[in-house]
């Protein structure tokens, strides 16, 4: 069984790979910014934006699709409508018909889109070398990390590695983290629920 077989996850609703077109991104940023301003109490510089008209905010992007998803911040579990065009998340909308959130969003939920669009996102694997961050390939990163972990396991035992898992991933992924520790041979695994 190979990686390809496992990772046959469905393509994006638009069915195309993501290319962040800066022109498109900018235009849509302005649109979402104005749409969200009233909801989240977000403050925007007047220089950058013009006021969107209500009817304009309701016009779908040509060929776009709406995806139902769930906010990634707190455990209330608010619904989010994401508008996707050509594989790019162009706009988000509150979910008026969601049974828990009923159209409610806090400022974090209202800015969910920046989780994907933030320029601060890591772009490729990095390692620290000579006190500086150095770009490396995935292959090199995985090979080095895994061989070092195996070396430590061999030399000191499986409990010489501590795994801090996550309450920010899916239940399936969290389960795999726990399973990994078991297969690795340690109970040194924990996550944010402890604290």
């Amino acid at each position: 069984m190979g990686a390809k077989k496992i990772f046959t996850t469905p393509a994006t609703p638009a069915g195309k790979p993501v290319t962040l077109n800066p022109k498109l991104a900018r235009r849509t940023f302005l649109k979402i910014a104005t749409a969200a301003a009233g909801l989240g109490g977000l403050a925007f510089s007047g220089r950058l934006v013009r006021k969107a008209q209500a009817k304009e905010a309701k016009i779908p992007y040509p060929g776009s699709k709406i995806v139902r998803t769930i906010c990634t911040h707190c455990a209330v579990g608010c619904g989010v409508y994401a508008e996707v065009q050509n594989g790019v998340w162009v706009r988000q909308e509150i979910a008026q018909d969601h049974p828990i959130s009923r159209g409610g969003h806090c400022c974090k939920g209202a800015s969910a889109i920046d989780m994907v669009r933030s320029e601060k996102r890591l772009k490729y694997p990095l390692k620290r070398e000579g006190g500086r961050w150095k770009r490396i390939s995935w292959e090199q990163a995985l090979d080095e990390v895994c061989s070092k972990l195996l070396e430590i396991r061999e030399k000191y035992g499986p409990d010489a590695v501590h795994w801090n898992g996550s309450a920010k991933v899916s239940t399936e992924m969290a389960y795999l983290q726990r399973k990994l520790a078991a297969f690795w041979g340690t109970n040194n695994i924990d996550h944010q629920a402890r604290i």
Binding site: A95, P125, L142, A160, L176, A182, I195
Partner: protein
């Protein structure tokens, strides 16, 4: 949560202690405010700080940090003294009431006022509000749990609800608002050092059960461990793993920790952060897997660190469990951006290189759906058997068909089911359990009694014997046995036993009484114990902490030897921490979000007007805050009456500064978050819960120095 966010709409009284939902769970507020406005429910907020939630309260109770158990036991005592307790509920569904009552009797309004600082008249008023407005809900968060007696605090909340008869009813319950979006799901699958998924623990039978689910040989898994002993020994926790590296407290493990992997986890959320930083400098290897660089990356100064970019959760998919035990399918919005890989893919690459991919993915061909199915096959204890990926997706696809008051679908493809199939969802056709311990509905339709987990009879220290099963006549409609019954043998490992129990109208885990007296806890009935670092030196002798615990999750943990009455002379102020609405957790995501960073760009300390004047501080001045452990941070002052004259409040989301120095240049270039600041946890104190080892960040001491 025993009930749900939506069910709070039915409450007649809302009691919130150690929760600031207005900032931490803002969207839940609509249900709370509905109950307040429409039902006229009093909203009682108990907190050391006048929070944004407190601003909505009908009754605000300012409590001294670390004295919640004393206040709760005081309420319980006052309710019993006035004969307001629910005698029928207690007679039929509660155990150990007499034993608990004797302990609670100590907490008279006068005693409680001395410990907590809450005027006795206010205690009486709150008790009366609770007694005369039923059913009421009790809600708490980390203000209750992050104490050395955090586990006692939570139990005192539960006992309060038992005494009021508020359990198993709509509008009642014990409702813990959880923090991270999937902390409930990650807890349920036990990314925890003391248990295998679904709270099975680490016993031999638990390992055998999960080996069977995974389809691997138990002997092979055993061979992966250092020894059988270490298979059953609880591991290090997130709160204290770094002691495994620096060993300032003695560790009970054959090797120190040499490598740490942070997989979607911040480090600046852990107390005594300056000690954690020492560990980062000492480790052979630090691996950070995250969409953002995180504070951890900036704090690493050695060539021992790797940063692997995982995608955000919007570029992958899977189920997430809300605080109300509901599963929702978080659909993928877009494909991974840049070179980021999904967590699933990184996991596969790791496992492949570790050489056990065939065994690890034996039942898993399609990700994540086959993982959901594997969990459903194994997690019988909490009834995840009915959480099949198709069902979870169907609920999310049809969220508009569910009623906001009952959470039940009205017609449509999910007709009659409860939104998100709140667990236990015992079978592929079970509708979910919207309210735990509700005996008004059949078990197959979402009803449930209290679990029979501790045998059928108990003899208390004074010789009194008590039947632990529910009284005759108390059972869910349609139950074959009209009264209490023990658990069904084999229900935790055989789904057919569960189906058999449901066919007979019964709960697989039995029908018992809820305990007020937990003989397996250090304090069978919750009692007040002064914080390790207490501002009330005079109370330490009367309410001392526990003896030290030599092997607490593999590390010596100080209690009595850490409780020094003279400490307050040098560190006169009480330190508490909490959330801001604009940020989340360690802030790696939100401080890198341009909108949120603009809204809340700066770290600050809330300081009372009198303290500010005494120290000669004005709004915006910088101040050093110092902890007894040697941590110090330089932060801006916010002068406010939200905190009292003895308390300092710090938000805990910041990072990128360390003891006065900026580490901005230590981030990968161009990836510094928009907002940087001192982590509050550099000055949070030593102190851990006696059972869970949660860090006691809501009851420390500190001192101020003008910067």
């Amino acid at each position: 949560m025993t009930n749900s966010m939506n069910d709070i709409r039915h409450s007649k009284c809302i009691f919130m202690i150690g929760s600031n939902a207005a900032e931490a769970h803002p969207v839940a507020m609509q249900h709370i405010l509905y109950a307040k406005e429409v039902n006229g429910a009093p909203l009682i907020v108990v907190d050391p700080r006048f929070t944004k939630l407190a601003a909505k309260a009908t009754e605000y109770v300012r409590i001294r940090p670390g004295t919640d158990t004393a206040f709760l036991m005081g309420l319980i005592n006052y309710i019993i003294q006035n004969d307001w307790h629910d005698k029928e509920f207690i007679r039929t569904r509660v155990a150990g009431f007499e034993e608990m009552r004797k302990v609670a009797a100590h907490y008279t309004p006068e005693v409680v006022e001395d410990i907590t600082g809450v005027p006795k008249e206010q205690l009486a008023r709150v008790a009366k509000l609770l007694a005369t407005n039923r059913p009421g809900t009790v809600i708490w968060c980390m203000g209750i749990t992050q104490h050395h007696i955090g586990s006692s605090n939570t139990r005192a909340c539960c006992i309060l609800q038992l005494v009021l008869g508020n359990m198993g009813v709509s509008g009642g319950g014990t409702n813990i608002f959880r923090g991270h979006d999937n902390v409930q799901g990650a807890t349920d699958v036990c990314v925890l050092s003391h248990s295998l998924p679904a709270y099975y623990g680490l016993k031999e039978g638990s390992w055998k059960h999960w080996c069977k689910v995974w389809g691997v040989d138990y002997e092979w898994i055993k061979s992966r461990f250092h020894s059988k002993e270490y298979m059953h020994k609880k591991g290090f926790t997130l709160a204290r793993w770094y002691e495994g590296v620096i060993q300032e407290d003695k560790i009970t493990q054959y090797t120190p920790i040499r490598a740490v992997v942070f997989w979607g986890c911040a480090s600046n959320s852990q107390s005594q952060y300056h000690k954690l930083k020492k560990a980062l400098d000492k480790l052979d290897l630090v691996v950070i897997i995250d969409p953002f660089p995180t504070t951890t990356a900036a704090m690493c100064e050695k060539d021992n660190v790797y940063l692997l970019p995982s995608t955000s959760q919007y570029e992958t998919e899977g189920s997430v469990t809300s605080s109300s035990r509901q599963a929702q399918w978080r659909y993928k919005v877009v494909d991974p951006i840049y070179e980021a890989k999904t967590d699933y893919e990184i996991m596969y690459e790791f496992v492949k290189r570790f050489g056990f991919a065939d065994k690890f993915y034996k039942n898993i061909k399609q990700i994540p759906e086959d993982v959901t199915r594997e969990i459903a096959r194994g997690a019988l204890t909490i009834g995840l058997c009915g959480w099949l990926p198709e069902r979870i997706k169907k609920h999310t696809d049809n969220w508009h068909t569910f009623d906001i008051d009952t959470l039940q679908a009205k017609g449509g493809p999910c007709d009659g089911e409860y939104y998100g199939l709140p667990w236990p969802c015992w079978t592929e056709t079970h509708p979910g359990t919207p309210i735990l311990y509700d005996i008004s509905k059949p078990v197959a339709k979402g009803g449930l009694p209290f679990r029979a987990r501790f045998g059928t009879e108990y003899t208390y220290p004074d010789g009194r014997k008590e039947n632990l099963l529910a009284a005759p006549g108390v059972a869910n409609p349609g139950s074959e046995i009209k009264g209490g019954y023990p658990e069904f043998p084999g229900w935790k490992t055989d789904p057919n036993v569960i189906k058999e129990a449901l066919r007979r109208g019964m709960a697989p885990f039995g029908n018992a009484r809820a305990r007020c007296y937990c003989w397996n806890f250090p304090d069978p009935v919750p009692i007040h114990r002064e914080p390790l670092h207490s501002p009330r030196a005079d109370l330490i002798k009367k309410y001392p902490t526990y003896p030290d615990k030599p092997d607490h999750y593999r590390v010596y943990t100080r209690f009595a030897s850490e409780q020094k009455p003279e400490l307050v002379k040098e560190y006169p102020l009480v330190l508490i921490t909490g959330r801001m609405v604009e940020h989340m957790g360690g802030g790696a995501e939100t401080r890198s979000n341009k909108y949120l960073a603009e809204l809340a760009p700066e770290m600050y300390a809330e300081i009372n007007v009198k303290v500010a004047n005494d120290y000669g501080l004005r709004e915006g001045d910088y101040v050093w805050i110092e902890s007894p452990e040697g941590g110090r941070i330089k932060v801006k002052v916010k002068v406010t009456d939200r905190v009292d004259e003895r308390t300092i409040f710090l938000p805990f989301h910041f990072g990128g500064f360390f003891m006065g120095r900026s580490y901005a240049a230590n981030y990968p270039e161009g990836h510094q978050p928009y907002a940087l600041g001192e982590p509050a946890n550099i000055v949070t104190n030593y102190g851990y819960d006696i059972i869970t080892q949660i860090q006691a960040t809501k009851e420390g001491l500190c001192r101020l120095k003008k910067a």
